[in-house]
């Protein structure tokens, strides 16, 4: 895995979305909204950005007569998130090793 800073993922709301989606296969939009404590429009906007980058897949399904939206990180999204987290760790690690010198 390549450690690479990703400007699409880095803004806090999108980082939070990716971190949660990386831990599951799929998550309900309403559940994610409740976890992040943000409005529907704010979450939609960030999800749209991630979807346009090819990092998040959006699927709508009807359950018990109501429509639910399921979100999942794509394999490109998982790779990008893992690479971004590795880049963050490398940055912090670099600071630690310089401080130790």
């Amino acid at each position: 895995m390549k450690a690479e800073f990703d400007p699409v993922i880095h803004p806090p709301p999108r980082l939070q979305i990716c971190a949660r989606l990386a831990a599951v296969e799929t998550m309900d939009f309403a559940t994610l909204r409740e976890m992040l404590d943000v409005s529907e429009s704010v979450l939609s906007k960030h999800v749209k950005t991630l979807e346009e980058a090819g990092y998040v897949a959006v699927r709508k399904a009807t359950s018990d007569g109501r429509q639910r939206t399921w979100l999942a990180l794509t394999s490109a999204g998982r790779k990008a998130f893992a690479g971004h987290a590795a880049a963050l760790r490398a940055l912090v690690g670099g600071a630690d090793s310089r401080a130790a010198e």
Binding site: L15, T31, M35, L88, L91, A95
Partner: protein, 149 residues
Amino acid sequence: MSPISQTESLEALNQIAAANREMADRVRAPGWYSWSLSLMLGGLAAVQELPLTYVFAYEAVFFVALAFLVRAYKRKAGVWIPGYRAGRTRWVAVGSAVVYAVVFIGSYYIDHELGVRGACIAGGVLIAALARVHCHLWEKAYRRDLGVA
């Protein structure tokens, strides 16, 4: 030149760690889910004691019930994580499947080949008990995969 400072990086890593802790707490399987799954798995072995017609009927019921169980879990938890996901959890899932297969085949052999009646039921009880343990182990492995002790 890095695009962000080390302080910002640390803050972002802390956010990821907090998200992982939240997820680790959220995906704990409720009792009704793990008990149902354990009993259903045990039933697969226990039903081998009965004539083939009942075995087929149970297997059909098993898969329908499994689909309902997964659906109910997804609806209630709002998330889905396959047992076979990558990481330590995959080892627990594969290990569990191997153990169930050994108990299943062993109890079937003892019952049907050696003529020890009730061995399939005992095997089913053992699988149900092991499945409860495996649910617990899987959750522990999942927490460790997320870096949550």
